[in-house]
């Protein structure tokens, strides 16, 4: 079927930045995601990106909303 890339896998990591050249004591959590996307030929590409905790909460909320909508159609 004609389609955009299909999401086939999501890997995640919750990291805590401990220290950096600007701040000796950071203690800053962040979420990293790796998405694996298959195109129609089966070729897999990947995209990874990072989110702050606030961004992650928003991200999670959007996906829950999507699921809620899916229940109704």
């Amino acid at each position: 079927m004609l389609s955009i890339g299909q999401l086939v896998d999501m890997q995640w990591k919750l990291g805590m930045a401990v220290s950096s050249d600007t701040c000796r004591s950071l203690n800053s959590p962040h979420v990293s995601l790796l998405l694996k996307i298959a195109d129609t030929s089966g070729q897999i590409s990947q995209r990874s990106f990072e989110m702050t905790i606030a961004q992650f909460q928003n991200f999670y909320r959007q996906f829950k909303e999507m699921a809620a909508v899916l229940e109704t159609v």
Binding site: I4, M10, R24, P29, F49, E50, Y60, A67, L70, V73
Partner: protein, 197 residues
């Protein structure tokens, strides 16, 4: 990163020539960004404000930059921690003013440092849509709900903050979405555990 030295503190005393406390405040803010110690434009405008030579102004900016970054790096949050850095002979009122200004600026400077850390590209925007697939060239009638998610991610090959974005569009079936929600739920659980520590 340069360590603070006595030369830095003697440069800081040039601030006694500042026309007002706000001028000192502005100078502390202008000296913070990376690149400030190298900026001749900043040195010249500072030289004008303080009626000193451009060289002296440049040394002052470098001193303020080193001091503010030292405070940020060691996360000095109490006035005593900063006051103790100054030599005993340093002008007392100026010392208190500089300390006060540095403490005022610490929270926004720390936030700036947190958001500028080395990291993977950031997710900038996300849109989504729920579609109903009703027909295709291979299936004449169907009713398959599907999610389309469009994400804009900073382009890591370009300079951070250059605004260059790359787009990712993916489709998720209901099963995939449920699995993904499961994974995201686990992240959220872990976050609660970490936050509790």
């Amino acid at each position: 990163m340069a360590a603070i030295s006595d030369e830095h503190f003697s440069s800081l005393q040039i601030l006694l020539k500042a026309p007002s406390k706000d001028a000192v405040r502005q100078l502390c803010a202008d000296s913070f960004p990376s690149g400030a110690p190298e900026s001749w434009r900043l040195a010249e405008s500072t030289a004008g404000t303080l009626s000193v030579s451009a060289i002296e102004a440049k040394e002052l900016i470098a001193a303020l930059h080193t001091l503010s970054h030292h405070i940020l790096f060691h996360n000095l949050t109490a006035p005593e921690q900063i006051l103790v850095l100054f030599p005993k002979s340093f002008h007392p009122s100026l010392k208190n003013l500089i300390t006060k200004i540095m403490l005022e600026h610490s929270p926004p400077w720390r936030n700036e440092a947190l958001s500028n850390q080395i990291s993977l590209p950031h997710l900038v925007e996300m849109d989504w849509r729920v579609d109903m697939k009703t027909a295709s060239d291979s299936v004449s009638r169907m009713a398959v709900p599907t999610c389309l998610v469009h994400m804009k991610v900073e382009d890591s090959s370009c300079l951070r903050g250059s605004g260059a974005l790359s787009s990712v569009t993916v489709e998720l079936s209901k099963e995939t979405l449920d699995t993904m929600l499961d994974g995201l739920g686990r992240i959220r659980d872990q976050l609660s555990v970490v936050a509790g520590k």
